[in-house]
Symmetry: C2
Subunit: 223 residues, 2 copies
């Protein structure tokens, strides 16, 4: 069978990276950043696996989805690998965000300075409460939700953060999609209805507590 293939046949294929792999990348990135700050220049998959409590095999498999970043007999250059994973994650450049909902959670997120360290810059907030419009959180201005589409079309906004009650979330998500937003970080406790090409990441906070609750409860039952 091999003789029928010519160079490039297989390389052309757009290999789909599994969600599990992508979900692990931020953790690699964090560990490599810490290791780099410790002044360590090189690391083997084995050493990294011990730190991260995963298998060395998984690390090598994960990384080789994106290319060969290591060197036989040597391991990986920490800083280089850190930068490469940053590129893969797309955080080598700035992403402009808007936050919809200037309530407690919206404010907390806007005040969360760690986002900017990773290139995520919050450009504006939106709400409907008259008393909030015009206020500023860390230099980020709150606009009325009516001006949402206008703002998005005038600025380079890639990602919207949705921190509003669930009964309004679906309608606002549709407006975001119509205005051209391609990615939504959804804190509202509902699934959004968006086209296939719009990316949604759900953060349902009470779901995390329920998972804890399950495990706490099953512990006590068996004892």
């Amino acid at each position: 069978m091999v003789e029928f293939l010519t160079t490039g046949d297989i390389l052309m294929e757009d290999k789909r990276i599994s969600k599990a792999v992508i979900a692990r990348l931020p953790r690699y990135y964090r560990y490599l950043g810490e290791i780099s700050e410790e002044g360590i220049e090189r690391i083997s998959s084995k050493e990294l696996s011990v730190r991260m409590k995963v298998t060395a095999s998984q690390i090598r498999q994960d990384l080789n989805n994106f290319g060969g970043f290591g060197q036989q007999g040597y391991g990986y250059n920490v800083k280089y690998l850190y930068n490469e994973i940053g590129k893969i994650l797309g955080i080598d450049r700035q992403h402009n965000l808007i936050v919809i909902g200037a309530g407690n959670l919206g404010n907390a997120l806007t005040n969360y300075t760690n986002f900017e360290k990773r290139g995520f810059v919050i450009k504006a907030m939106f709400d409907v409460k008259p008393q909030l419009i015009g206020k500023e959180i860390r230099k980020v201005k709150i606009y009325h939700l009516d001006t949402l589409e206008d703002y998005i079309s005038k600025h380079q906004i890639q990602i919207a953060v949705l921190s509003i009650p669930k009964n309004e979330a679906i309608a606002v998500a549709k407006r975001l999609v119509n205005a051209g937003i391609k990615a939504i970080l959804n804190f509202a406790h509902t699934d959004l209805e968006v086209p296939e090409d719009v990316i949604v990441e759900n953060v349902h906070l009470s779901d995390f507590l329920m998972k804890l609750s399950y495990r706490v409860s099953s512990l006590t039952e068996n004892q």
Copy 2:
């Protein structure tokens, strides 16, 4: 082989439920709650699968990890199934929480009234800033972190929510463990070091943004 087994041999086994199944339970619970509120009394796995955009097979497999909740030819009683999943998740009873860190995120979480609807009651907050001690957020008092162990031993606290900077998180987590806490919802951007029997659920907010960023970036690259 079968003739060697007597009744009960297999039933004794403590079947481990996979994490993937448990992670799906809160979503089932949410959909069933909504369906119940619509006044729908029964539903088949097929109908539910259409709503939830999963396979009917997966629903039946998931549920049958915990018992047969349905009836052939009929489907599932919505309210009954809702309650049963609630019991499995351990939210048929109250869980007392404490929140460590009364910053923006800690305040937002304490103000998040949805937790109480699911039986998660925040009993106290802790911080080190003198100007915060004694203040109240929604009737929840802020105590000094020095009194943490004392408070935990005097009250029935199952779960701690950690919303403090990462450089303090590991040390505080150790104190929580020593004080007897069995479950931690960790918002600090670091992995905690805890014994095997302590349950940690990590919520690394910037990781979610990085996952979005990856997908936004890979979209633009291929076009």
